[in-house]
Symmetry: C2
Subunit: 354 residues, 2 copies
């Protein structure tokens, strides 16, 4: 648009060297008051803004951090993002947002996108990377990906939020997913439910696997059988939730409670239940996991496990900052405990017609 003014232009017009201009810019060495003013006024006059590319090139610090997440449209992620922002803004970082758009992609395509974004972020010389989303060993892409990410981790600080990759040691900030799955199931069992289903998520993602593990553990401890036909993995969206709940309701025997892998699926499940004439929670209790604000906005309000998204984001930002600034005392693994939020979508089961 316009050729931009540089330190050289300023220097020339002020009859000083670029070094001096740089000094007033960064306050890095004493400059005579009169000279400083002269330069400062030129800076104002031209609205001069130093080129961050040039600066970063020599300083080897960009103040940029990259964020890779699977689907910005899922309200969990904006929430975490907000937490990241809050913390990272203080340190003066700005964000690269990389949405791998997984909601519509198959897993292979998603890995490709992640790799692609990872490379872009490296080229752009970000100071650090945050990856949000669960991974686990079950998919064959995963090993390859792990190696790749490990390689990157050697070059630039990286922290995982709620996820991991097999065989590699990354810095991680996670929610105790298993405890989450367990506690929410125990809540239902405590209410008197015995026939409980688990729907949602992806079988190759660590968050799903761990939540399900917690579910199984709670059931086992209570001496309740787990019906495998009541376990269904089919995604994380409202629509998927509707579908899975729909399938569940068409079965011969129907559970009295359903734990959903996340809030969106929970909301979808409520919709499906209501649509087929059931009342929630009278006829069927439904729970979510995530604790996004939205879960408190539906009717009935969703009982859920709060994953404390904001804190998750904040914690990750501060770990990453520790890594970047090499302040020694960074924990490799930070575990946050989820919190059961009891609202309106759960209650004691209806009396069995005897």
């Amino acid at each position: 648009m316009m050729k931009s003014v540089t330190v050289y232009d300023i220097a020339k017009e002020a009859n000083v060297s670029v070094a001096t201009v740089s000094r007033v810019l960064n306050n890095t060495a004493p400059v005579k008051a009169s000279t400083r003013e002269r330069i400062q006024s030129l800076i104002n006059k031209y609205q001069f803004q130093p080129n961050a590319l040039a600066r970063s090139l020599i300083k080897k610090v960009t103040g940029m951090i990259g964020i890779i997440l699977p689907d910005i449209t899922n309200p969990f992620f904006p929430e975490v993002l907000a937490g990241l922002e809050q913390e990272a803004r203080k340190q003066g970082y700005t964000f690269f947002l990389c949405d791998t758009g997984s909601s519509n992609l198959d897993i292979k395509e998603q890995y490709k996108r992640e790799t692609q974004y990872l490379n872009i972020l490296m080229e752009k010389q970000v100071d650090g990377i945050i990856m949000i989303g669960g991974r686990i060993d079950l998919h064959k892409c995963s090993k390859e990906m792990a190696k790749e990410v490990a390689e990157i981790n050697k070059r630039v600080p990286l922290v995982f939020i709620n996820g991991n990759l097999p065989g590699a040691k990354f810095h991680r900030v996670v929610i105790d997913e298993e405890a989450g799955g367990r506690m929410v199931t125990e809540h239902l069992i405590g209410l008197g439910h015995r026939d409980i289903a688990f729907i949602g998520g992806y079988s190759q993602m660590s968050n799903t696997v761990e939540r399900l593990q917690g579910f199984r553990m709670a059931m086992e401890r209570a001496g309740l059988p787990v019906r495998e036909e009541w376990i269904d993995h089919g995604g994380f969206s409202v629509q998927r939730g509707k579908n899975m709940m729909g399938r569940l309701l068409e079965m011969d025997t129907v559970p009295t409670a359903v734990v959903c892998a996340n809030d969106l699926v929970g909301i979808g499940a409520i919709k499906a239940a209501v649509k087929s004439g059931l009342q929630v929670p009278r006829d069927v209790s439904i729970t979510g996991v995530d604790g996004v604000p939205l879960a408190a906005s539906v009717i009935p309000e969703l009982t859920t496990m709060s994953l404390r998204c904001l804190e998750l984001g904040r914690a990750a930002a501060s770990v990453l900052h520790g890594l970047i600034s090499k302040s020694g005392d960074v924990q490799t693994l930070t575990i946050l405990q989820p919190e059961l939020v009891i609202r309106e979508s759960t209650s004691v089961p209806m009396q069995k017609e005897a």
Copy 2:
């Protein structure tokens, strides 16, 4: 972490000059096959990735575009973002996300943040900027801001989504907000409502003002009076929606329908209505504006004006790309028509007890 390898390292080991390495990197001139292979294998061996800062410094193109929005936590914005992504990814852009976090801030603070982000984006040499959110003349900060943004617009392509600033000519992609407000109101009038309220938004934001204008126009055309005490501006969140609806329901006379400035407020309004024992839509009809997926997930599903977020994002991305690549044929103003989505939260009003 590790000192990175450069073109010089590659060049030395391959016994060629950096120019040749650059040529194989960018395929910008013929290189002998054997040489190319030798270089390529070294690139693979070291996982060499050219430094984008250095490249951008001389090429004057960064492939980065900045996005400024008020609150990533409001589902409208992720939706628009997804649209932007879809389109911009094709062109190879990556995003800087700047959340001014307005949900908690007063307007002055928000302007400060915007200015700050704008400056950061300029320094980082983004190829273009997209600002999402409505503005209008009513606030005194606004004039100043307009000048500032106009100044920036001279230096780097900028497009507004759903917003404007007084006295300046920017490229804009907008929804016809007034039509939106009008159509949704006409829908209610068509159902037989005469006592209609309008709640939500901010009186200094153009989107609110225009939606309200549409509301007034529809009322006027139908010969219906607008009760000023039924007009309440108090924000865009679910919580605010609850509060405003609560106030409305405490009045001596209560409307039979409420048009809300956005979906979140609409959802809050439904919650408040239900909480105070009313049924929606039997006792009161409620409408939103935005058309976020969430609006279809609540019970009852919210009747709303779809602002076609994805298309909005895509259109903005393509306008911005046109601006950046100077492909001449860019429209200054792109207007999309909103679409009425009738769902479950509106119906004919109850018979007046005569």
